[in-house]
Amino acid sequence: MQIYLPIAEISVNILLLIGLGGIVGILSGMFGVGGGFLMTPLLFFIGIPPAVAVASEANQILGASFSGAIAHFRRKNVDIKMGCLLILGGILGSIFGVELFRIFKNLGQLELIIKFCYVLFLGIIGMIMFFESIRALSYESKNIKIRKTRHHSWVQGLPLKMRFRTSNLYISSIPAIFIGFFVGILASIMGIGGGFIIVPAMIYILGMPTKVVVGTSLFQIIFVTGVTTYLHAVKNFSVDIILSLLLLVGGVIGAQFGVRIGIKLKAEQLRILLAILVLAMCLKITLELFITPIEIFTLVRDL
């Protein structure tokens, strides 16, 4: 069953798209990661133009995060004040990122930049996950907790301090805006929510309690991916709504199964497989950048 994607301008098997959404959904449900950094490279591999893949994936993350954010909102696990600061930074980052996206697109370097970012991030995330899961496996028998929440002293020294009731913090607003800004750029260039960066940043840099971290990050992701979707639609005409919807169908159902699988199986032990998958994808994209291409010349549509 083929479906013609109107913006990507290619025809893809509908079951392949729902299936990809489903598999990534299962993985994200199992391991509590957003699917963006897995989904976007997979879309490259099946031949979706990178520009369309990134913009449509941002829109998909918006839908997927929204349902999660509602659940956290009900349980009041969202620090709205902190979230608003992150959103402010995120929107600025998104505007900046979409502009960079447009410039690189016109220069013909967009694919290179996106792939380069992915090599970097998949490499780093894959390595961290790989070593963390190995460490978790070896520490498991000794029952030692490895994570410690720590405050960085330099964060305390910054001006523009604000009080955050929900997180029970009195810190400067500058690092939150910067973190938001950075994640906003990533969202617009790579088509990711950025949960895997913002969650550790909230814990280790801002020192927020783990209880509110996931909810607040989802809260900020829906706004930032929303703005990113809008800007990509207006500036780059690269949001394929049919593609986003098909991925959402697979992703939402997959995530439900993933959560259940994650509860039954020991997901921490399977995390090493995810790490290997991420590293394999990183390797594939790296090779594409370094191996002599078959086609030296490329024609790109001039809009």
Partner: protein, 259 residues
């Protein structure tokens, strides 16, 4: 006597007309049609096919040399022109970087040529230029001064993407009169008018050219999405956001109780 006179006049007239037709023979013409006038790209579009069929019509009442075989047919299908940037990959700092070489204003988005024999056998290169036939001519006529090597590259890329086809299915000419040809359209098809040019060739000379048009358009939801995305991008952006959010909302309602 009157009868004889009439007969002579008729004979004379007949003879005259015969001679005059011999002196300026009317070349044969083409009668052609397409199996489709419109190709619609809808949600389940996965490429399309259409047929071109026709006949050679002889225009002289008597047997004349120009109506004699060998006849050859060439069929060109030329897609709407699009603007393209040509990039060349160069190795820099260890990895491959695109370098813009040229901005091409009018590259045919689709080109297919098929014939009873390959183009280069039917017409020599200088004749192709003269008659405006062939892919290279198509690319060159719209953009001045393109390097031959670059044209080769453009042709190579187009063929890889199945947008350019040369000598795909050979046409058979039945009884030196009837012919038909099937054209395969790929999935990555541009919207617009596709020119169909049918040439009748005899001894390296184009005797007749018939031009027809097939229109490719997006219909239904495809057309609607395309229109919104490019004509009303603000509205389309907001719509995308709302669709994604409402999907997420419905999903949270459906799956809330089950976990």
């Amino acid at each position: 006597m009157k009868l004889l006179f009439k007969l002579i006049i008729i004979l004379l007239f007949y003879n005259l007309s015969f001679i005059s037709s011999y002196a300026s023979e009317i070349p044969p013409s083409l009668v052609t049609d397409l199996s489709k006038k419109v190709i619609s790209i809808n949600v389940n579009f996965s490429g399309s096919k259409f047929h071109i069929f026709g006949a050679i019509k002889k225009n002289n009442p008597q047997i004349s040399s120009i109506d004699q075989p060998p006849f050859d047919i060439l069929i060109e299908v030329i897609g709407p022109p699009i603007a393209m940037n040509l990039f060349q990959k160069e190795k820099k700092y260890g990895f491959w970087i695109n370098r813009k070489i040229d901005n091409l204003k009018n590259v045919p988005s689709f080109y297919s040529i098929s014939g009873t024999k390959p183009l280069d056998i039917l017409l020599p290169k200088n004749f192709q230029t003269f008659y405006d036939i062939g892919l290279i001519k198509q690319i060159n006529s719209n953009n001045q001064k393109i390097d031959d090597k670059l044209i080769d590259q453009i042709v190579f890329i187009g063929k890889n993407k199945k947008q350019y086809n040369e000598n795909n299915t050979p046409i058979t000419l039945l009884e030196n009169t009837l012919f038909s040809n099937e054209i395969d359209f790929p999935t990555n098809l541009q919207e617009g008018n596709y020119k169909v040019k049918i040439h009748l060739i005899r001894f390296q000379k184009v005797l007749a050219t018939k031009q027809d048009i097939i229109y490719v358009k997006k219909i239904g939801i495809q057309n609607w999405i395309n229109y919104l995305a490019f004509q009303e991008p603000q509205l389309y952006g907001i719509m995308s956001i709302l669709i994604a959010i409402s999907f997420g909302f419905v999903a949270s309602l459906v799956f809330r109780k089950k976990i």
